[in-house]
């Protein structure tokens, strides 16, 4: 009985997350439209919300095909890997102090980093297995991007871990009497930049790069397999936004309103920043991104970790 209820709960969580991802696709188009002097999709349903449902229905009703020249097994595995890793990460994300699946798990942050690496595998394998030049280039870029942002990202998170003394998200939020954005401004900026790269979103959407690589790693994908990639991308975006809110913006801490509403507000604000960046910034070359990752972000992140550790040690001594 307990197991059944848990399975039901997990199914519900998954469906809610998928709904959120679907809604975000619509919300992004709308917000992007407003930022670019347009209206965005506003025809279907109130304010155009029905567009999300229509897009989902369209993707689901399309033919499920595998191109002749693709590696069939990997081609089928990659989208599932992307969607799965993004979904699985949410297991450790708490909505409130005691409202999560594994918010107390003492390797929560590590788990998320591991899953994000798995996500990169999905993107890479998808591009590789497609057997298409553009996809391969996208895959290569995904890997090049991965090696340049993962290190600064992990190091930026290390600052948070040093301060809170915990790897579980519950513990990190509980330790934030002051939001860590105040104590870790540099870490916050590094994490945000690395987060944009991590989710393959503009300005760092190099693996996809519609204008140069057609659609990069998912050129050969269609129907619901493409939908999985899409879901994975938007779930990853939500994940990074939630993480930013939890790790740097004080999570569910806030006056007057209940905690989970605070978390949602903060997450939505971060997501808006993502949309806003997309509406504004052009895409750099991928050697520029790598240069930024290795020559700027990595030294800065190392400095951040050292400074945090020193400050924490001095604090303890005093």
């Amino acid at each position: 009985m307990m197991l059944f209820l848990m399975a039901l709960g997990m199914l519900f969580t998954t469906l809610v997350l998928l709904g959120v991802a679907g809604f975000l696709v619509f919300a992004e188009r709308r917000v992007l439209g407003f930022l670019q002097n347009r209206l965005g999709p506003n025809r279907l349903g109130p304010l155009g919300v029905g567009q999300a449902l229509a897009d989902a229905l369209k993707l689901m009703s399309k033919e499920n095909f595998v191109p002749d020249f693709a590696d069939p097994v990997l081609y089928r595995t990659a989208p599932v890997l992307v969607a799965f890793s993004a979904l699985a990460s949410f297991a450790v994300v708490p909505l409130d102090h005691h409202f999560s699946w594994a918010g107390n798990w003492n390797i929560g942050l590590l788990f998320i980093l591991a899953m994000s690496s798995l996500n990169a595998y999905g993107v890479f394998l998808g591009g590789w297995a497609s057997g298409n030049k553009f996809s391969l280039l996208g895959a290569v870029r995904a890997v090049a991007q991965l090696v340049s942002y993962e290190l600064p990202m992990g190091l930026a998170l290390l600052g948070v871990v040093l301060l809170s003394g915990s790897l579980s998200l519950n513990g990190i939020v509980a330790a934030q009497n002051l939001p860590y954005i105040v104590l870790q401004p540099l870490g916050f900026v590094i994490f945000l930049i690395a987060g944009v790269a991590e989710t393959h979103r503009l300005p760092f959407d190099l693996p996809e790069a519609e204008s140069e690589l057609v659609a990069g790693f998912n050129t050969e994908y269609g129907g619901m397999r493409f939908g999985y990639f899409f879901l994975g991308e938007y779930l990853g975006l939500t994940l990074i936004a939630v993480l930013t809110a939890l790790l740097y913006l004080g999570g569910w801490h806030g006056p007057w309103l209940p905690g989970w509403i605070w978390l949602l507000i903060k997450t939505a604000a971060v997501i808006f920043v993502f949309f806003w960046l997309r509406a504004t910034l052009p895409r750099p070359r991928y050697d520029q991104l790598m240069a930024l990752g290795w020559k700027v972000l990595l030294p800065l992140a190392l400095f951040n970790v050292l400074a945090t550790a020193l400050a924490a040690a001095l604090w303890r001594l005093a």
């Binding site: 407003f34 930022l35 670019q36 002097n37 347009r38 209206l39 506003n42 806003w276 960046l277 509406a279 504004t280 910034l281």
Partner: protein, 176 residues
């Protein structure tokens, strides 16, 4: 410092996009009315004089000038010798809305007004007859009345009695 300049430029870009929030250049057309320019060329119509008579005098100039030859009419004459079109037919599946008919028209009868959104299921439905073309109003030129200007004698007006018209010169005499 280059870094600071780059960061401030990033900020300027972000501010530029943020300022656009809530503005839009899009007109939600069927719900919001369009603001058409005054010289917009829509569907040609036949207009009337301020006193309600048809302006068209069936001179065939529009039909002659039409590059797609979509205008066809037959001339008739009223008892008071004023000419009018017996039939007037425009095939709108061929009309290209160039406006040459309007320019050619000596009486300002045919005018391209602001109707532009009309679609039909069959080509035959695009052939408009005179009843569908003739409107009750005066169109773009509310006070113009060709016969009140022209040097033609009408039942209630002799030559030289029109607007801005001088009395005709006696061609039999050389005296001023």
């Amino acid at each position: 410092m280059r870094v600071w300049r780059n960061i401030s430029e990033l900020g300027a870009g972000l501010w530029t996009t943020l300022r656009q929030l809530g503005r839009t250049s899009t007109v939600s057309y069927p719900e919001e009315p369009l603001n058409l320019p005054p010289r917009w060329r829509g569907r040609p119509v036949l207009t009337r004089d301020p006193d309600g008579d048809e302006r068209c005098v069936a001179c065939q100039l529009c039909s002659a000038v039409c590059p797609t030859r979509c205008i066809e009419l037959q001339a008739g004459e009223r008892p008071d010798t004023r000419r009018y079109p017996l039939t007037f037919r425009i095939n709108f599946s061929r009309c290209i809305y160039c406006g040459l008919c309007e320019e050619a028209c000596p009486t300002l009868a045919i005018q391209l007004l602001d109707e532009f959104a009309f679609s039909k299921e069959h080509h035959a439905d695009f052939i408009y007859e005179k009843e569908a073309l003739l409107i009750d109003g005066t169109g773009k030129h509310p006070h113009y009345n060709f016969y009140r200007h022209s040097g033609v004698a009408l039942q209630d007006k002799d030559k030289g009695e029109g607007i801005n018209e001088k009395t005709p010169v006696n061609v039999r005499s050389n005296l001023p």
